[in-house]
Amino acid sequence: MTSIVVIGKSHTACIKAAALRTADPLVKVINLNREDDVCPAELAKAHGRDRPLLVALSFQGNTHNILCLDEHPQKMTIGGMQVDEAERTSIPHSVFRDVLKLIIEDRMVEFLEEYRTAFAGAEIVMILPPPPLAKVVQHGGIAPVLADALKQGVMPMHVRRTAYECQTELYREIAANQGIMCLEPPSQALDEDGMLGHQYGSNDPTHANEVYGALVLAQLKELTHAAVE
C-alpha cells in the first residue's frame, strides 16, 4: 500500500533520496525526468486499487533559477530594488510576474488538472520549490556543468530571492484557483533572510539535498496523518 506519491521533476530528487534511505513502503517518489513517456493516467493505473491518500506534485520549480541565477549581460533587478553599486535595469514587479506567468501558468494548470483527474479521490498538494541558497560558491564545490554558465557571475541574493518569491506567490494563486493546497518549504531549512540554509543545499545551487528532502517528507506524512484523522 502506498499512501504518498510524490511526482515531479528535478526537485523530487532530494525527496526520493530521503525516501530511499528510510525505505518507507508507504512513500513512492516518481522523478519524471528519469521516466519515459509517463502520463498521469498511466501512473494512476499502475497503482490499481491501491490509490494513494496524498499526491504531491513538484513541477517547474526552477523557473526563478533559470531566469535569475546567473548575471545577465544587461544587469537587472526586480521592482527597483537597489542591491549593489552596479547599474541595473529595473524590471517592474508586474512585468517580471507576467514573464513567470507566461512560462508557468498554462502548463501548471494543465498538469494539475491531469493529475487531479487521474488520482481522483486523493488529496493533491503542490510542493513549493526550495528557496535559493544565500551564497552560491562559484569556485569549487559547484557542479562543473553549471560553472561555465555562471562565468558572468551570480545575481545578488536579493534579486534571486525576489524572483523566487514572485514564483511562489504565483504558485499559491494558481493552487488557490484550482482548489489545491500548497506545501510551504520547511521553516527550519530557511535562514534569517528566508533563503535556503547552507546545510540544505546540494552540489548545485538550484536544488536542495537529502536532508531537506527528509523535512519535506515529514511534512507530507504529517498531512497524510491529518487527512486520516
Binding site: 530511499l20 529595473s90 507576467d98 553549471l146
Partner: protein, 369 residues
C-alpha cells in the same frame, strides 16, 4: 501668386488641389491625397520618434511593422519575451510615456525628463487599491507598481529613455489629441486622465479642469519644440491632429461640439507652429480620415475608432511624401532588429540554463540513488 490679367480674377490658373470639385479623392477614384509640397524627406535609416494621442499609436505601430526606423529607446529587458513586453506597452511609443494628449503634457514631460519640473504628486493608488500607478502615465503598467521603489526606478529609466529619444532622434512625429485636461492646482501638473479614472482620487480642492485654447496650445507646442531644438538642433518635426473624436467632455455641452472645438484649436496651433519653425511640417491625417470625400468609411461602427484601412491610407500618404526609400513590409528598422537580437540571445541563454539545470537534476538523481 499666379494670376491672370486676362480673366480678371485671381483663381484662374491655380492648381486643381485648390478646388473642391477638382481636388480628387472622390470615392472609387483612388486615394485621397491632400498633401502639397513637404519641407523635407526622411531617409530609411533616420530615427523617428513618435508621441501624442491614441492615433499616434497607430502611426507608431505602422512605422514599426513596416520596418521604418521607429526609434525605441525604452525597451524591456531582454529577458522579457516580446509578448509580455508588448502587453506592458514597451514599443508602443519610443518611450513608455503612454498617450500625450495635450501640448502642455508634452512640455511637462520634457521638463520632468530634464529635471526642470518635479510634480508634487509622485504616485497614485490604483483604483483597486492593490498597487501604485504613475499619475503621468496611469495605464502604462498593467498590474501597477508594487511599491514606490518599483515605480520610481521605472520612472527614472523612463525619463532617461525620453532624454535619449530627444537627443538621438532625427524626426519627431507629434499627434495633437485633446485640449481638455485635468490639472493639479498646486503646481500646474497636467494629467493625461482625470484623477480617479485609472488611479488616484479626485479632489476638487486639488484638481481643476482646463480646456486649453489655441493661444495656450500654440505657446505650449512652441515651447516644447524650442526646447527640443535647443538639445537637438537637427531634429525635424511632423505635426498631425488626431481624427479621433473626444471620448468624453467635461464641458456642459454635446461631446461632438466639444470635439469640433478641440480639433479646431489643435489645427490652428499646428498650423501656427509649423509656419514658425524651419523643417516643421503639418501632415493632414485629420483631414484624410474626416474628409467628406471619404464618407466616414474610415470610422468603426462606433463612429470614433479609426479602422485599419484608414490608418493604412494615412500612412501610405505619409510614406509617399516623406520617405525617400520606403522599405517593404518585411524590412527591419535598426532599432527593432537590435532588440530582436538581444531577445534571441536571452532566449537562447534561458534554454541553455534550463537544459543545464535539468542535467543537474539528473546528476543529483544519480548521486542520490
Amino acid at each position: 501668386m499666379p494670376q491672370s490679367s486676362k480673366s480678371g480674377h485671381p483663381y484662374v490658373g491655380l492648381p486643381d488641389r485648390q478646388f473642391w470639385k477638382r481636388m480628387g479623392g472622390d470615392p472609387g477614384t483612388g486615394l485621397f491625397d491632400p498633401v502639397s509640397e513637404v519641407k523635407f524627406r526622411i531617409r530609411q535609416d533616420e530615427k523617428i520618434v513618435t508621441a501624442g494621442s491614441c492615433f499616434a499609436q497607430h502611426v507608431a505601430r505602422y512605422l514599426t511593422n513596416k520596418g521604418f526606423n521607429h526609434h525605441i529607446t525604452e525597451n524591456a529587458h531582454p529577458l522579457v519575451p516580446p509578448r509580455v513586453a508588448t502587453a506592458h506597452n514597451y514599443g508602443m511609443f519610443s518611450a513608455r510615456y503612454g498617450n500625450i494628449y495635450t501640448a502642455r503634457q508634452l512640455v511637462q514631460l520634457l521638463d520632468r525628463a530634464y529635471g526642470r519640473f518635479v510634480p508634487i504628486e509622485g504616485a497614485w493608488r490604483s483604483t483597486d487599491g492593490k498597487s501604485l500607478v504613475d499619475p503621468f502615465r496611469p495605464q502604462i503598467q498593467p498590474g501597477g507598481y508594487r511599491d514606490l521603489n518599483d515605480l520610481e526606478a521605472d520612472r527614472r529609466q523612463h525619463l532617461a529613455a525620453v532624454r535619449q529619444a530627444v537627443e538621438e532622434m532625427d524626426v519627431f512625429v507629434f499627434t495633437l489629441g485633446l485640449t481638455e485636461a485635468w490639472t493639479d492646482k498646486r503646481d500646474g501638473s497636467v494629467y493625461p486622465l482625470a484623477p480617479g479614472v485609472a488611479g488616484g482620487a479626485f479632489d476638487p480642492e486639488k484638481h481643476a479642469f482646463r480646456n486649453f485654447d489655441e493661444v495656450e496650445t500654440t505657446a505650449d507646442l512652441t515651447k516644447a519644440f524650442e526646447f527640443i531644438r535647443e538639445i537637438n538642433p537637427k531634429v525635424r518635426f511632423i505635426v498631425t491632429v488626431s481624427p479621433v473624436p473626444l471620448n468624453a467632455t467635461f464641458e456642459d455641452r454635446n461631446c461632438w461640439v466639444s470635439t469640433t472645438y478641440s480639433k479646431a484649436v489643435l489645427r490652428i496651433a499646428a498650423e501656427k507652429v509649423c509656419n514658425s519653425f524651419e523643417a516643421c511640417q503639418y501632415f493632414p491625417s485629420y483631414e484624410i480620415i474626416t474628409s467628406p470625400k471619404i464618407r466616414a468609411r474610415y470610422y468603426a461602427p462606433d463612429g470614433r475608432e479609426v479602422l485599419e484601412k484608414g490608418v493604412r491610407h494615412v500612412m501610405q500618404i505619409l510614406a509617399r511624401h516623406f520617405f525617400e526609400d520606403a522599405p517593404d513590409a518585411r524590412g527591419q528598422g535598426a532599432g527593432p532588429a537590435a532588440v530582436k537580437t538581444q531577445q534571441d540571445a536571452a532566449q537562447s541563454h534561458l534554454e541553455t540554463m534550463e537544459g543545464l539545470i535539468e542535467v543537474l537534476c539528473d546528476e543529483a538523481a544519480i548521486d542520490n540513488e
